[in-house]
């Protein structure tokens, strides 16, 4: 898909075809809505949510650092095998929100979640008090702002998650590592140097290695926390292209500072401001015709 260089207004060119494809995947749901699927922030109408094949339903989530309430009553559906972008000015809580999905906040004392993030199809509440964060992280991958490959070989980096899951067989490991590296568009560059240190790679390659590392364990949702903010424009374009291709196999949630990036890669976009959700809609709508004044001011660069 040649999305990387197109202007935001042209992004939606392929949309109708994709929607049809989406409806075909779930004929039962397609029956209930004849029109084009559309999400609004008011998701109390569950019928609308169903039409989207929701992978994770965020319902009334609050998050606290000690006494400080960093996220306020967030309710957003995360569409299955689509790219959802979280945008907003620094400190708006978008990264904090992202890190709720894989319970990274549990690593720090004094944090608390409220509400629910229900992962479909088995209705697991990711932030439920009795839910083991390890189990959550086994199902949800993450790519960080700064590429953070382990100081091991390229092969061992990708095999890391597989080994954690108890995979020992060498042939299977090699096979899965290759698959993941191909999935992250790194195989051609890395296949002859699998035993070299991952730290010998360039920044963009390292970030694709981190994507491969996450893909290897077949996550259901892949979280991206400003994945290109430490990269040059060419490496950024490659990562964006990669994210566009990933949407066929995995649900993507991406935090980005870069509005052009959000417009280029996302299907749905949530605009957040000081811990609150201001607007959530299809990306085309947000970037061409937002319904809230604050959203418009932000995307036209009046603040942030």
């Amino acid at each position: 898909m040649q999305r990387t260089t197109e202007a935001p207004s042209a992004v939606r060119a392929t949309r109708p075809a994709e929607e049809t494809a989406l409806s075909k995947e779930s004929p039962a749901n397609a029956k209930s809505t004849s029109g084009a699927p559309r999400i609004s922030i008011a998701v109390d109408d569950t019928r609308q949510v169903r039409t989207l094949n929701v992978k994770a339903a965020v319902d009334n989530v609050n998050f606290y650092y000690g006494e400080h309430r960093a996220l306020k009553n967030l309710t957003i559906p995360i569409a299955d095998r689509q790219v959802t972008a979280l945008i907003g000015p620094s400190g708006c809580g978008k990264s904090t929100f992202l890190r709720c999905f894989n319970r990274m906040h549990d690593l720090q004392p004094g944090t608390r979640y409220e509400g629910s993030i229900t992962l479909h199809p088995d209705n697991l509440n990711l932030i439920g008090p009795g839910v083991d964060p390890i189990e959550v992280r086994m199902r949800i991958g993450m790519v960080f702002q700064k590429p953070n490959p382990f100081p091991k070989s390229i092969f061992e980096n990708v095999a890391y998650g597989l080994r954690l899951r108890g995979l020992r067989n060498r042939a299977t490991l090699a096979e899965e590592v290759e698959k993941a590296l191909r999935g992250a568009a790194l195989w051609d560059e890395a296949k002859d140097r699998l035993q070299d240190s991952a730290l010998a790679l360039s920044g963009g390659q390292m970030q694709r290695l981190c994507i491969a590392r996450a893909l290897a364990t077949k996550p259901e949702i892949l979280l991206f926390d400003e994945p290109t903010s430490a990269l040059d424009p060419i490496a950024t374009a490659k990562i964006e292209e990669l994210i566009s291709t990933l949407r066929d196999q995995v649900t993507v949630l991406i935090v980005t500072h870069n509005m052009q990036q959000a417009a280029r890669v996302s299907d749905y976009t949530a605009f957040m401001y000081i811990g609150e959700l201001i607007e959530f809609d299809e990306a085309a709508k947000i970037f061409t015709n937002p319904s809230k004044k604050a959203t418009e001011d932000y995307i036209t660069g009046r603040y942030g």
Binding site: L107, N148, F150, L164, C210, T217
Partner: protein
């Protein structure tokens, strides 16, 4: 101008350390030169007895080397696993306030005079060991080695913990995000990432154990004994040096010169461990 003065002063203080080291090596070489005029290198390294103070004098260094290596190995068997475990706990598991309480206490252990550890070995640990091993002699290398091990635990745990805490947070987050537990993250990411620091900690521990004097002088007995069995009494290089230094040997006599030859060997052993450690670090380190 003032910068220049400061630079010279700093350089001078650096040179003090360099010159001290060179002076020590110089004295060791010079004095042991006199020793090796009387004793051939062949005798020094192959004779199985070390009795320079007896009428029937033998000058084989191996019994002392064996004593030194045996107590060191016993000490490391205690200190490396214990020190590393403590470091992993403090760095990866302990809540902030526990770490801030435990670490100073541990470091305080390193400030206890070694003569106290020596009597601890002789009067507490040896009787305790004799309870389990009735035929254990009153002076033995096992007790001394165990206590030296305890003594160097704080060195190893403190330096190791610093090294592990220096592994960046994003490295751990990468591991946790993959679904790793704390222990998996500690063992698969943090320990390999901190390997050069851990190696430095082990080398420091080895150097302390090799050079330890009071504990072995008090608790291991003073008889040179060519054995690697820790249950036996033996003398180490350091114990011999302190024994001779306390005596009334004439300056320039061969017995007097023998302690410099012993000191030279001691220094060679320490140097050897440092070189091995340096090589290991370069081979296995996972730098970040």
């Amino acid at each position: 101008m003032r910068d220049r003065v400061v630079e010279i002063l700093l350089l001078a203080s650096g040179l003090v350390a360099v010159f001290t080291t060179l002076a020590i090596v110089g004295v060791l070489l010079f004095e042991s030169g006199g020793f090796f005029e009387h004793v051939t290198l062949k005798e020094f390294f192959t004779d199985t007895m070390w009795t320079p103070l007896f009428a029937d004098a033998h000058y084989g260094i191996m019994p002392l080397v064996a004593g030194t290596l045996t107590t060191t190995v016993v000490a490391l068997v205690v200190a490396v696993p214990l020190g590393t475990t403590i470091a992993i706990y403090l760095s990866e598991f302990a809540p902030h306030n526990v770490r801030e309480t435990v670490k100073p206490i541990l470091e305080l252990l390193g400030a206890v005079p070694t003569v106290v550890y020596g009597y601890f070995a002789l009067t507490m640990v040896t009787p305790l060991l004799q309870y389990f091993m009735p035929e254990l002699p009153g002076f033995n290398m096992l007790s001394a080695g165990l206590v030296i091990g305890l003594m160097i635990v704080p060195y190893i745990s403190s330096v190791s913990e610093d090294a592990m805490r220096a592994v960046p947070r994003y490295m751990r987050e990468g591991s946790y995000a993959m679904g790793a537990t704390r222990l998996q993250t500690a063992l698969r990411v943090v320990v390999p990432g901190a390997f050069s620091g851990l190696a430095a900690a082990f080398i420091l521990g080895i150097s302390r154990a090799v050079g330890e004097t009071m504990v072995v002088a008090i608790a291991a007995g003073m008889q040179p004994n060519l054995t690697f069995d820790p249950r036996e009494p033996a003398a180490t290089i350091t114990a011999y040096i302190v024994q001779v230094s306390l005596g009334d040997l004439a300056h320039g006599s061969i017995g007097y010169q023998s302690i410099f030859a012993a000191g030279l060997v001691l220094m060679a052993i320490t140097l050897m461990f440092n070189v091995i450690g340096f090589g290991l670090t370069r081979k296995f380190r996972e730098a970040y």
